[in-house]
């Protein structure tokens, strides 16, 4: 009558990162159809003091990568923040999915009661794994995924809820 911590984390990250990759494909096709350089997306911001598109994709990936690594008590692989094209961002998504799928479920299961140390700008904080997943890792991940989507919509890429959610199609509400 319950779900495991692996089941409550990895499949969500993997599915949404797959959806994110498809938005990049649509963004590239949109740029080609409109005859502009897809690299112009990379600096797009929703506000002057918000991080641009490239950082939103990088941090979406990192939120998933560190989320899973911290729950598993493992070191996450380091990916340099140096992507300059949509293709390189897709490669970062691919490496991220490869890593989180490589983590054995047994390393994550049981994490609900373990301490997870989360680095912060001004030090670190310790949360139980369940609190970390539900109130930090998942919200932070969805923040950057949705902000990436919002940037593409703001810049004219034709995406809809069916692209956001993936294979289910658009909900009535």
């Amino acid at each position: 009558m319950t779900i495991s911590m692996h089941s409550a984390s990895v499949p969500i990250f993997v599915r949404m990162l797959g959806n994110l990759g498809q938005w990049l494909d649509k963004a590239e096709a949109h740029a080609q159809a409109r005859k502009f350089d897809p690299a112009v997306y990379l600096g797009a911001r929703l506000a002057p003091d918000m991080l641009p598109f490239t950082n939103q994709v990088q941090i979406a990936c990192d939120a998933a990568k560190y989320g899973v690594a911290r729950l598993a008590g493992m070191e996450a692989p380091k990916f340099a923040d140096e992507e300059k094209t949509l293709a390189e961002l897709r490669e970062r998504i691919r490496k991220t999915v490869d890593f989180i799928q490589s983590v054995p479920a047994a390393r994550i299961d049981g994490a609900e009661d373990r301490d997870v140390v989360v680095p912060r700008r001004d030090g670190s904080m310790t949360l139980k794994g369940e609190v970390y997943l539900k109130h930090f890792a998942l919200p932070n991940f969805f923040f950057h995924v949705t902000t990436t989507y919002a940037l593409l919509r703001h810049w004219g890429v034709e995406l809809g809820k069916a692209d956001y959610l993936g294979a289910f199609g658009a909900p009535a509400r």
Copy 2:
């Protein structure tokens, strides 16, 4: 070594809806400081064919309300989509939180293996409760919560990751 379906759903919705309410407070204070009518937020859109601010808040509430009701196999209360002020949107958030907190945990626990019927524009689809929560209800909820946040940031309200996540403060990454 697992978490319950109630624990994997209700606390996430309640916490994020509380955060959302605080963004509305900051938006109202921003409007007062800049001497504009806070009602101008209500029609704000990130793209011409995206739903405006008021709908984003309404649907964030409904995503939580219907998510919990469907997992519990209950009818959700109907809230008319007629809010015209930030105060009325806050009231909708309050009613939503009251409802989802009123649902007994025992009604939701065990939903992982139950069928959930999700209305769609072109009919309906049936998902297992665990799939519905992880790949539909939570992503859809975070979509509308984050889009609301993005709209307020786009319109100049001073919000940061600490406001988004709530009491933990801003993460280093």
